[in-house]
Subunit: 321 residues, 2 copies
C-alpha cells in the first residue's frame, strides 16, 4: 500500500524577529509544496529517495528517534522525526519531492514534516485532525531543531493566511492576494539562530532604541491583518507597510548587500513593496508586484534566484490514487 | 581693501528627518570649508568668480535683494542674499573657493552664507558677534530657500559638535572623533524638500507605525550626545547607533540603491557604522571608520565620490593678510 501527502511552504509577510519579543507575526501558505509518499517495503531496511534534492539513503526505522543522533542536520531528519511519531518502525520506501528550495526561509522543514506525518497517519488509517497534526508537527520541529516557532507548521497544515498573536495563539484567515508574490533568494543561507541571537543582543544593548522599533513592527503586523481581511485590498498601502517593515529589519541588523540589492531591484521594476522574509542575514526576500510579475522575476533572476510563490488556500492534502 | 573669511561645511551625524517632528539632531563641522573674499571694485558692476565651481558672473549689487528674483537657484544666491544684509550695495569683486561639493548634504550653502556675511562685516569693520552671525545667516537661508533649519548655519558659524534640542535650541559641544570620518556622495542629488515632504506623508498615513520610529531616532540622538561627550569613546557603540539610525531612515523611505551600496561597502571594508547623512533620496552617506580610512575611501571611490571629512573645532574665521 502507498500513501502520499503534501503540504505547502510558507512565507512570513510581517513580524519576523519582533515575534521573539511578544509581537504578532503574519505568514501565508505558498503554492509550492513538499510531497511525501510512503510505501511498505519488503526489504529489511527503509529507503529514502528524492530526485529533486538529488539524494538517496537507507535507514533502520525500528531504531526510532535514536536514528537522528547519527545524522547530519538536514531535511531527512524531519522525515525521520515525523515517522518516529506517526509510524510503527516497519520498513518503508519513502519518496520526497520538493517544489521549493530548502533552507531559504520558505518553511521547507515544516512542509516536509507535516506531509510525512499526514502520509504516515493515512498509511495507518488514522483519522487526521488538523489541529492535532499541527501540534505533532511542531513537536517534531522541536525534537529536530531544539527550538521552533509553531507558525511554520501551522501554515503548512492549515494553508491560507495564519496569524500568530501576542499570546502565541494561532488563527487562520482568508486573504485576497492573487498572482502577485515573488520570493527571491540568495545562494547564501542565513543562520536563523544566529540572527535571532544578534537581534536579541542589539535589543539588550539599546532597549530604549529597539523597543519602539519592535513595537512599530507589531503595529505593522496588526494593521496588515486588518488590511488583508478586507475585500477591496489597498495594494499601495500593503506595499508601503512591507517597505517600512524592511527598514525596521535593517535597523535590527539582519539586512545584507545581496538582500538589499534584490529588494531595491524589485521596487525599481514595479513591486509595490519588498522586504526580507524570514530571519535575514542571507536567505529570502518577498516582493509584492501585482501586474509586474514577469518584470520583477526577470530582474531578480539576473543576479539571484526567484520564483513566483503565490498565496495558497490549500494546507495539508492526502493524495489518493 | 580685501576681506576674506571662511566657514566649514557640516555633516549630520544623527536625527535627520526626525528633527522635523520635534526630535533633536546632532551635526558637526567638517574640515572642508568655503572661502569668500570681497574686494571693493572700481567698476560699476560687481563680479563673482569661482575657479573651483567653474563660473563667473556680474551683478548690480545696488539692487539689493531684488536681484535674487531673476537668478536661477544656486550657490550664488546665498552670496547675494548675505551681501543684501551685510553690505551697502557698492561694487565688489567677489571670489569663492570651495573645498566641498555643492548640494551633497554638506551644508555648502550655509558655509558660503556664513563666510560671505563674516567677510562683509569685516570689510565694513563691524564687530562680529558669533550668535548674531548665526542668526543673520539663518535669515539669509530662509530668504533664499523659503524654509531652512538653523542647524547648518549654527554649525558653519560655531564649528565643533552642535546639538539642536527638542525646543530648537542650539548648543555647542566638544567631541573626540579624530581622523575617522568619510563622506561618500552619489552623482544624483536628492531634493531635500521632496524628501521631507514624503516622510511627512508617510507619517500621516501610518502614525502608529512611524511615531515609534521617530521616537527611536530621537533616543539615538540623545544617547549619541552623551556618548560623544565622554573622553573614552565607545567606538563600536557609536557605529552601531549609526547602523540602527540607517535602518530607521530606510523605513522612512529615503534610502536608495546607490546609498545602500555605499553604506554596505563601507561596513564591509571596516566602517564601524555608516548611514545616510542629510535628507537622502540621493546625496551623501557618512561612514565612521577608525583605522580603516584608506580602505573605505578606496572602495567608495570605485563607484562613487568620497572624501575624508573630519570633525573640525573651527567655525567661521577671518583670514587676515
Amino acid at each position: 500500500m502507498e500513501s502520499k501527502a503534501s503540504a505547502p511552504g510558507k512565507a512570513i509577510l510581517f513580524g519576523e524577529h519582533a515575534v521573539v519579543f511578544g509581537q504578532p507575526a503574519l505568514a501565508f501558505a505558498v503554492d509550492k509544496r513538499a510531497y511525501v509518499s510512503l510505501k511498505k517495503s519488503s526489504g529489511k531496511k527503509s529507503t529514502i529517495k528524492s530526485t529533486d534534492l538529488n539524494f538517496e539513503a537507507s535507514f533502520d526505522l525500528s531504531r526510532g528517534i535514536d536514528i537522528l543522533k547519527n545524522q547530519k542536520k538536514g531535511i531527512v531528519n524531519y522525515i525521520l522525526g515525523a515517522l518516529s511519531l506517526g509510524h510503527d518502525g516497519s520498513p518503508l520506501e519513502i519518496e520526497l519531492s520538493m517544489e521549493m528550495p530548502v533552507g531559504a526561509g520558505m518553511g521547507s522543514s515544516a512542509a516536509v514534516t507535516v506531509a510525512t506525518l499526514a502520509a504516515a497517519y493515512n498509511l495507518h488509517h488514522k483519522n487526521i485532525d488538523i489541529s492535532n497534526l499541527a501540534k505533532k508537527a511542531h513537536e517534531v520541529e522541536l525534537m529536530v531543531q531544539g527550538a521552533a516557532s509553531p507558525l511554520d507548521t501551522a501554515v503548512s497544515t492549515n494553508g491560507g493566511l495564519v496569524y500568530l498573536d501576542e499570546n502565541s495563539e494561532i488563527s487562520s484567515h482568508q486573504a485576497y492576494l492573487d498572482n502577485s508574490l515573488i520570493l527571491g533568494y540568495t545562494s547564501y543561507r542565513g543562520n536563523t539562530g544566529e540572527m535571532v541571537d544578534s537581534v536579541r543582543k542589539r535589543r539588550e544593548r539599546f532597549p530604549q532604541i529597539m523597543d519602539p522599533v519592535i513595537e512599530s513592527v507589531g503595529n505593522i503586523t496588526r494593521q496588515a491583518l486588518k488590511l488583508l481581511s478586507q475585500d477591496n485590498l489597498d495594494k499601495e498601502y500593503l506595499g508601503e507597510l512591507m517597505n517600512i517593515n524592511q527598514g525596521l529589519l535593517d535597523s535590527m541588523g539582519v539586512n545584507t548587500p545581496e538582500l538589499s540589492r534584490m529588494i531595491f531591484n524589485a521596487r525599481k521594476y514595479g513591486a509595490l513593496g519588498s522586504k526580507i522574509t524570514g530571519a535575514g542575514g542571507g536567505g529570502s526576500i518577498i516582493a509584492f508586484c501585482p501586474g509586474k510579475l514577469e518584470e520583477v522575476l526577470h530582474i531578480l533572476q539576473k543576479t539571484d534566484s526567484a520564483i513566483n510563490a503565490d498565496f495558497s488556500k490549500e494546507g495539508v492534502l492526502i493524495h489518493h490514487k
